[in-house]
Symmetry: D3
Subunit: 238 residues, 6 copies
């Protein structure tokens, strides 16, 4: 039997409701692992711009830096992967973002994936992220519900029809796999798969499984190259 | 506690020695999962050309098609992923190749990876594969030991120095993660990591973890698009 | 006067009707060249999946390997180029696939080409092939008739209207050249060109001309790199 | 005569010495323009990691957001363009980063550019940035002096020989234009050009000229798409 | 106060009306700079094919080569940048094309740009140009008015509605910045921006500002690599 | 027996010696085809810059436009394909450039090709051409002899050793096929192949075979898209 592990799951926004949904998604009955799910003390309640990302990333980094505990892995549970590169630099355990984990998983399930975004504004943001990750060839499309994150979190049911329509357009774009591109969309996987007959990736669940898989394989972030630790060390953040 | 699962791990070549190494790499003490590790009845003893791949893929497909059992997932344990697309088409459970699984994992550990191949001939073959998967932007280099697969399997120790040299060249190429690009290289991960200070991916172990992770996430191969089931069904293979 | 040459044209499926059409397309009245058109002894009657490709490639390789004759060139007459890489590895004469030959020709006729596929399932398959060949920048689109291969072979006339519609969509996509992406579409070139006013490539005819052109130029497959002969030689296939 | 304009130039790190060099580089005798050169109140003294970038970006955004003045344009004077996307989102005047401005200029002077970085760690960071900007085809290479930013700023003379060597390697890589990839390298342009006979871009000077050129053309950041203003408005930053 | 400079602006076609519009667009009241705006003695009145480009480029090169004067910079004021590479080779001052200058500027204003072309024929021509410049990732779309150049020059008002429609389609394609892809479209910038709420680049004005910006930065075309001076010197052109 | 055809082969430079070599390379004993090999009346004696290309292209276009004869195909026999796009626009028969024909052929012989250029200046020029054609993924490298075109034409023997060295470097770069990137290199194919054991493409011979192959397939340049005829027709060139 493997030893109990300790995981940190960070919701970079400050919505307690979203943190609660994330906590539910990463709780694994039947293991003795400890999963700590937190959000930073301050910052935007939802992340819908690079401006929001910058604040949330800063607050998340500050939280993680000042935390005294040791983890077997850290999950960043916002689909834009805000602050991810910096968190990889300063952590000795593996750090995974739910967007990058979703893309890595999608690659194994089909040739192409589409991402369902909340607001239209997120479409070019995700396109930029996929380009930065060098994965544009595997992306069929990015489409938005045109609803804001908190509304989706609050009221998945009433916009479910809209979900179906937008996901259907993605399938028409050639998507073989769908990725729910916002942590607010937790829990829609099974329902959508039953209607659409393509795999639907719930990024929080998949991100957590991927983090555990990396740790189980005895792997962690490379300390050479892009994620090399900050040469001058850490700056005092209070 | 999750139910016991049943996995099929296929070594597409017919080397009993490599099948044994693969079996050792995917055995998980402490679970009740059943892992069946097989190789096809006939075919090349090692796979070092597309010609070898075609025969091995055919024999593997025939074996899988004629097998009566049901699995929770299938792992193809040869780094060229021979026959992978066809196996995805004809299987209802998730099918993962160790090359694609290694690339997906490497994406999460660093910006770039290099692949260590056995023979020089494998270098353009892997380059072709990475291009087919649309991941060339993340590949720093592919370098060969210039030793054949069975020699590596038989005698890892005596060529360990060569491993270190070739891996060192990859790090100079900018690789942040190294992938051992042949199932014959099982077991070198820890030793190489200790010397090279970058993550080293053992493709069989990582492939198996990735397969379990996909199943644990309730995901499977997309039945739309590239891997749609053969329209005319299966052909009788005896 | 150049010496008479001897060509092998392989239809990788087992449809006698398609083999006959292919034979008609490569017969050159007025030369003394010998053109041998064959199909393997067993295998799928049409190739519409990677599964079909794997079986057909295996049977084709076995046929070629066991054949005692010497050729000046070999043409693989299925648009997916199944088994092409392996056949290039094991042959000393030039081997050309009708898909790759069609793409090479299209590059000289216009900036962009579109491919007309039989079934919808073939669309991502051809996209994968074009990506593997590194030619995606020259591809305007891939569109399917949504008819299976044997129906097209049997009944070109009754689906000619559908051809016109699909080809017209390709022209709207920006295609400057159209490629008939299935050997079952032999013979539609002139008729479609008269309506659509863009060059239409009949892959079997073009593939055969390209093969002869390579031989006439004193060229053959490179023995270095991707198509280097199998290091361990051939495996006994019976 | 055009009206006097007011520019803000932000040094995102807190080195007073670098702020002074930047101020010297953007002072334009003979105009009545006002150029305000500032650095944030707190944060790293030099920026050599994504961690540093995140803190500096946050502090810069806070400074800009809380500033009461109106500008005709804002220049972000650190070669990693930290916080640039967010600053574009929240500003109504044009905002330019010195890295993006240097790339845009280099495109007009030669087919390929190389970037000279300070530390080796910056090489993959700049490669990531160039990939994010979609300009990798125009980049010949990125090479590091392997000296930290503050040392370069303090002592350009004693490492000038090293500059020449590294720049020479870039020319051998095929670079037609060189970009000094750190604000600490201000002032080396003429000296290097005289030795190397290729254009050398001093990013601060070029960035400032580019900003003025955009304003002079009556242009500003697009408010549609990637840089659309934050949907929920600004968050109180104190 | 900087010294007065002398600029050459070449309209490569022979339309006196377009030369006049170009002259108006580059006249800068309040400076003592001299701007000479010319067109070649003979050649097509508008440039709508590669054939036209070849003649216009030849005549432009001849004109420039035989001109006795010295300039601080040369602007090629046709959106296809005809003859640009050759003019860069033979000039010691900076030479800028209005297409390349527009692309470089657009990169700083948004993630993606679209180009509005005159005739449909120009769409693949511009696509080819953007591909040659390696900027296809930043291009959202290219759309044509389907009007010829001289008609647009003569009658902007009556086709303004068409402009709005086509530009609107570009915004739907995801364009964050619009580029007026023909010198005949001078003067529509402000009007279109007011309706469309995205930056609109007038290539002649932007090209001229970019040229001055390069000169002001003490930069010029690289003499190494692509634009190296003709090895055998100039050919007598009369 | 097919009817006799009439071909035009244009050497765009004015070297009589090179025209003679080209004539020898395209003469086909045993056919009744007529092959007319010409060079323009005036222009540079060899083409080593874009400046040279512009003049040669103009003179070639003028020659072709004013010629009264009808051809079954036109070959442009300079490796830079100067004026090719315009010649395709104005010709109703197929027009092929020897560079594009060499690339199309190389694609069928190996995964990657390298090009041997004359002067170093040609290296970025060919890189630009390969990028414009969208084929960079198949190009292993471009290397120069650093000798001018006329010297190579005059004295192939004395620089043969240099050829071997440079070609050897290309093979080390991973080239599976070599392309002699200048019409002055005619006749070295067999000698180099015997030493280097990879296919060597002589562009004039291959270009001519490709042209005949296109005509034999009943194909010609697309009249839609990039090569659509000039909308305003031809300009009087005297």
């Amino acid at each position: 039997m493997r030893n109990a592990k300790k995981w940190l799951v960070v919701n970079p926004n400050t919505s307690a409701s979203m943190t609660a949904s994330i906590r539910a998604a990463v709780t694994v009955p039947g293991t003795q692992d400890e999963v700590r799910v937190i959000h930073p003390d301050t910052g935007p309640e939802s992340l819908e711009s690079f401006y929001d990302y910058q604040i949330a990333a800063f607050e998340t980094i500050k939280w993680v830096q000042n935390d005294q505990q040791t983890y077997d892995g850290i999950l960043v549970a916002c689909f834009g992967d805000p602050g991810l590169y910096a968190l990889k630099e300063i952590s000795t355990c593996p750090v995974v973002g739910i967007a990058e984990a979703s893309f890595s998983t999608a690659l194994l399930l089909g040739k192409t994936f589409s991402v369902i975004a909340a607001l239209q504004k997120a479409v070019p943001m995700m396109s930029d992220l996929i380009g930065q990750y060098g994965l544009e060839k595997r992306c069929a499309s990015i489409r938005a519900l045109d609803r804001n994150v908190l509304d989706i979190d609050r009221d998945q049911d009433s916009i479910y029809k809209l979900f179906l329509t937008v996901c259907g357009h993605c399938v028409d774009d050639g998507a073989e796999v769908l990725i729910l591109g916002c942590a607010s969309m937790i829990g829609l996987k099974e329902k959508l798969e039953a209607c659409l007959h393509v795999p639907v990736i719930d990024p929080v669940g998949v991100g957590f499984e991927m983090l555990k898989m990396i740790a189980a394989s005895g792997l962690s972030t490379s300390r050479a190259g892009l994620y090399q630790a900050p040469p001058k060390g850490l700056f005092l953040l209070r």
